[in-house]
């Protein structure tokens, strides 16, 4: 299992190109919400899901995508999917 700090750093790299509120991005915590805080548009949320799938070679189904609203839940989904790969 990757440690959480490293995982958050990687997730930040994934979401960076889509962030519209740089100030909120600078203050990012686990509670940061993709849409309400970072102002990421919903089409780009799909890009983030696809980029995450590519990076970790995992598949994020609809139920998991529905959970990916903030940093904490996204990390949770990634950890869960990596663990499921064995």
């Amino acid at each position: 299992m990757m440690d959480k700090v490293a995982l958050i750093a990687e997730l930040k790299e994934i979401i960076k190109p889509y962030v519209q509120d740089q100030e909120a991005f600078g203050k990012l915590t686990e509670e940061t919400h993709f849409i309400t805080d970072l102002k990421i548009n919903s089409a780009n949320l799909v890009d983030i899901v696809l980029d995450t799938e590519d990076k970790y070679n995992i598949e994020i189904d609809n139920d998991s995508m529905d959970k990916m609203s903030d940093v904490k839940s996204a990390i949770g989904v990634i950890e869960e999917k990596i663990a499921a790969k064995g």
Partner: protein
């Protein structure tokens, strides 16, 4: 209840690639993808369907629906070049889409005895703070005129449930509206009741 969504075509061309691997499968059902593949204007069709889903989703949230991220949970059917409808679970709503060279604007259509106002306007700058501030200002301005209220007394705030709500001084106004902005365009839709019945 009402929902709308604006798509700036130039911004979308610049910032989104619907042809990237996996994108269509994440967003659209097989039958929706068939509409896209059969369309002579795939780009416009993709983003028309997308904006219909967004408008339907906002309407659904106003009805008290639980939030979700996955656009494939919303099913779209097109009737003609202007009209279609969206289905989310048990709920269905009619949607109209208007196109220009610059934008696509989709909004839910009220079935009740209401006058619906839909407005699209250009924004002065393409950053989130300007987009949001100018869109709010335009809506407040229009509501002040239509409800004959003093504009400086109208404010947009989130109600305790987090839903954007119009207030006159401290009084919550029962106005159903939806706002959207993207790139260089802002838009809103709202309902004006014709009668109490």
């Amino acid at each position: 209840m009402i929902g709308n969504d604006i798509i700036d075509i130039a911004s979308t061309q610049e910032n989104s690639n619907w042809q990237r691997r996996g994108f269509l499968d994440k967003v659209f059902s097989e039958s929706e993808q068939e509409i896209i593949y059969k369309s002579p204007h795939a780009f416009t069709t993709v983003w028309r369907l997308w904006s219909m889903k967004e408008a339907a989703y906002k309407w659904y949230l106003q009805k008290g629906g639980l939030p979700f991220n996955s656009p494939s949970r919303i099913a779209i059917r097109l009737k003609n070049n202007l009209r279609g409808d969206a289905q989310i679970g048990e709920l269905a709503v009619a949607i109209i889409s208007e196109f220009t060279k610059g934008y696509i604007h989709s909004y839910t259509q009220s079935s009740q005895q209401n006058i619906q106002v839909n407005e699209v306007f250009a924004l002065s700058k393409n950053d989130v703070n300007t987009q949001s501030a100018e869109t709010h200002k335009r809506l407040i301005n229009r509501i002040a005129i239509d409800w004959q209220k003093e504009e400086s007394c109208l404010t947009l705030k989130k109600d305790p449930q987090g839903k954007p709500t119009m207030y006159f001084r401290e009084q919550k106004l029962d106005i159903h509206f939806s706002m959207s902005h993207h790139g260089n365009f802002g838009a809103f839709s709202f309902l004006k009741a014709v009668s109490e019945s």
